[in-house]
């Protein structure tokens, strides 16, 4: 199955979207269809390997101008230029039209020679001609194209402009008093202005998703004799690459330099630079903040982690939530109703006769542009998803934003979720006459020969290797520990019995009941130090919990781990917990504690909690997990931080507020404005201002969701 992304720049409104959706989904080979109205893009899943052409053809037959998205970027500039010209010319001409109109008004009051009046009337035509004949062309085109199948929102607009202009020209020739050139000019200018602001706001909302989209075009690759420049598309896994200071990584790679400093903010939202050592995997899209580094490519440019995330995010942006679909349907019914009302209004006033029927009908057409209604929901959802992405949480579906405020129960997995997935030294005591730091260095030297998971706790400790120990004859003893020789003396590390094989490990009763446990370090059978390992909680664990508690969510720790580590983690924060659960028991626990109205969110790494994952209303996966789990999750944490979880709750509340405000505004505005216009109480210029400002207001309100929370954190 293949997937094609198509940009349709002249798909302005809900009716257009419905039209495209109907036509595409009717094709026999199409299996999936989703649309992003903010970006004016559709995404089609289909079975035909070379189906792109057929899709473009189908959309073109509807009267649109579709392009595959890569093409869309290149054409962007000319398109922006034309839009600017139309707007600028409309502005200049509109001012002249208003000036001449004003002169005619004054003439009505104070008298004006018939010759001057005639000249001004024809001057109006001259000033208005570029507006009606050039600036308003996009509206005509879109409206005519839409006549082939269903009507879109540009129909009332184009109709208003065309009718007003034609009637005015006719009056000009017959000498009838009413001219509507001022409405044509004002309406077109305001509408073009609103569209220009719309598209710049839409760009603001969607650029966040495109931050990864600019990897370096050229990379430095080792060709066996020296570094040569190569285009990024030629990089294949296994290539040796050099990344200069300050440059972005083009692909995922394994570090071969001894160390590196990376800025991963673009990928994970972490603002602190991260130190890496040789052998670590570095991800494309992050920046090298240390010295020049070298590494072996793990991926090509298109299958790096960053481009996978970008693709996933795009897919998500394209899927539509139930609320958004509802707005679509409302708008699709709206347009024909408005056209009918405008006709009725004009007819009514023509029969009653005490107001100008053309003017009243125009006001209805102009005032009721349903753009606000169509944009109200998608704009808010897109903005919020971009914000959460930036903070380190990738949503798999915008429905998560709508569901999150409903959540009543939040379950956490422990290991790998609330705690770091790797073991760390939690406790260390010197037992002999060596200082503990020296013991650590010896332990590090010894463990660096081991591949056991425990070893990483010692070797990743951030210490200088200044006094490195030279060890010989190092060997691991399965199930016991590791031993080697240092300056002719035998060094051992492992459990107590292994270390004290030759001589007794001095027990010291003062340390508590667990003394015999832990990992011992001994030299010639004499104990030097004891270490205890554990999983350290994530740094922002406590703060996250506190902020979630403030949101009124009940939280419970569900762990497969033993009672004691769970208690140690949960008790200080008064977090409820259930320990030693199997995956099935976790599921049973969730189900048995679920009330009829409870909504459950589960956060875990997907290891040992598959059933719980499936049962949760929202499943959130952590960063260190398999792709399979990530694909099943509704959301993924992009960094080692938990705070984005709190951000999800806070952001979804704000989103809900903004969506409601937007819908209420759009509906309320139309309910008041349309009757006013029908009653002939609304002059067309006011109608134009009202229409343009209502859709701008909706978008501006949505951009509030791009800004940081009032608390200013995360």
């Amino acid at each position: 199955m293949s997937s094609t992304a198509i940009a349709i720049d002249d798909m302005h409104c809900a009716a257009c979207i419905r039209k495209v959706r109907t036509a595409i989904t009717e094709l026999s080979f199409v299996q999936g269809f989703s649309v992003n109205p903010v970006r004016r893009q559709i995404q089609v899943e289909h079975a035909l390997a070379d189906g792109d052409f057929k899709l473009l053809e189908t959309i073109e037959a509807l009267g649109f101008h579709p392009r595959l998205t890569r093409q869309a970027r290149a054409d962007h500039r000319t398109e922006r230029r034309t839009a600017l010209k139309r707007l600028g010319i409309a502005g200049i001409c509109m001012m002249q039209v208003m000036m001449a109109t004003l002169a005619l008004y004054f003439g009505d009051f104070w008298g004006m020679s018939a010759g001057a009046e005639l000249m001004l009337r024809w001057a109006l035509l001259a000033f208005c001609l570029p507006i009606a004949g050039y600036c308003a062309v996009p509206f005509y085109r879109s409206a005519i194209a839409s006549l082939r199948q269903g009507i879109n929102m540009d129909v009332p607009i184009a109709l208003a402009i065309a009718v007003a202009f034609t009637v005015s020209v006719q009056h000009l020739f017959t000498g009838a008093p009413h001219l509507y050139f001022d409405r044509v000019a004002m309406f077109t200018f305001l509408l073009l202005g609103a569209r220009a602001i719309d598209s710049s706001l839409k760009r603001t909302i969607s650029t966040d998703d495109e931050r990864f989209a600019a990897p370096p075009e050229q990379v430095h690759r080792w060709d066996g004799a020296g570094w040569v420049s190569a285009p990024i598309s030629q990089v294949a896994p296994g290539d040796s690459l050099r990344i200069d200071e300050g440059a972005a990584l083009p692909v995922d790679l394994t570090l071969t330099s001894s160390q590196a400093q990376l800025d991963k903010a673009t990928l994970t939202g972490e603002s602190q630079w991260v130190a890496h050592r040789a052998g670590d995997t570095l991800y494309a899209g992050t920046f090298n903040r240390g010295a020049q580094l070298t590494g072996i490519a793990n991926s090509s440019a298109t299958d790096s982690r960053a481009s996978q995330i970008t693709r996933l995010a795009e897919q998500v942006a394209l899927s539509r939530s139930p609320l958004a679909r509802m707005a679509d349907r409302v708008a699709a019914v709206f347009v024909p109703v408005v056209l009918g009302l405008a006709g009725l209004t004009a007819l009514g006033w023509a029969l009653v006769g005490d107001r100008d029927p053309v003017s009243a009908g125009l006001a209805v057409l102009i005032v009721s542009c349903p753009c606000a209604l169509a944009l109200a929901v998608p704009a808010a959802l897109s903005a919020s998803m971009a914000t959460l992405r930036r903070k380190g949480l990738l949503l798999g579906d915008s429905a998560v934003l709508e569901a999150a405020p409903e959540m009543t129960q939040l379950y956490f997995d422990k290991t790998g979720t609330l705690t770091h997935p790797r073991l760390q030294i939690t406790h260390q005591v010197a037992l002999g006459d060596w200082p503990i730091d020296r013991c650590r260095l010896l332990a590090q030297a010894l463990q660096s020969h081991s591949t056991h998971p425990i070893a990483s706790a010692f070797t990743t400790a951030d210490r200088s290797d200044g006094a490195a120990f030279e060890l010989t004859a190092v060997e691991t003893v399965t199930g016991a520990g590791i031993r080697g020789h240092y300056a002719g003396r035998e060094v051992r590390m492992g459990h107590a019995a292994f270390c004290s094989q030759n001589a007794a490990v001095e027990p010291s009763g003062a340390e508590g009941p667990d003394d015999a446990q832990g990992i011992f370090l001994s030299i010639d059978g004499r104990a030097l130090a004891r270490f205890r390992l554990g999983a350290a909680p994530r740094a922002d664990f406590a703060e996250t919990l506190e902020r979630l508690q403030r949101q009124g969510v009940r939280m419970t720790l569900l762990s497969g781990d033993a009672e004691q580590p769970c208690r140690e983690l949960a008790a200080p924060l008064e977090l409820a917990y259930a320990a030693a659960l199997s995956p099935e028991e976790k599921l049973r626990y969730i189900e048995s504690h679920r009330g009829p109205d409870d909504k459950v969110m589960f956060v875990g790494d997907g290891i040992n909690d598959g059933p719980a994952f499936a049962a949760a209303d929202i499943a959130v996966a952590t960063l260190e997990t398999s792709d399979l789990v990530r694909a099943r999750a509704d959301a993924t944490l992009l960094s080692a931080r938990l705070l984005p979880l709190a951000a999800l709750f806070e952001q979804s509340q704000r989103t809900r507020t903004v969506v409601r405000q937007n819908l209420a505004w759009a509906a309320g505005y139309n309910l008041i404005a349309i009757p006013c216009a029908m009653a002939g109480l609304m002059p067309p210029w006011l109608a134009a201002v009202g229409m343009a400002s209502s859709s701008m207001l909706v978008l501006l309100n949505a951009t509030r969701l791009l800004q940081p929370m009032p608390s200013g954190r995360v």
């Binding site: 600017l84 010319i89 200049i92 001409c93 000249m119 001004l120 000033f127």
Partner: protein, 50 residues
């Protein structure tokens, strides 16, 4: 008021000139980057252009 007979056609011609100027400006990238020139005094002469 006979002067209006001259002024009104003249204003139409002037607007035509204004439109032509605007058209030229858009075609010659005058509106492509409105921020850079404002920052130009802060650039040191050795720096490559922003």
């Amino acid at each position: 008021m006979e002067v209006l007979a001259l002024l009104i056609p003249l204003s139409i011609v002037l607007v035509g000139v204004a439109l032509a100027c605007f058209n030229w400006a858009v075609d010659h990238d005058q509106f492509e980057d409105l921020d850079r020139q404002g920052l130009a005094p802060l650039e040191s002469p050795e720096d490559p252009p922003l």
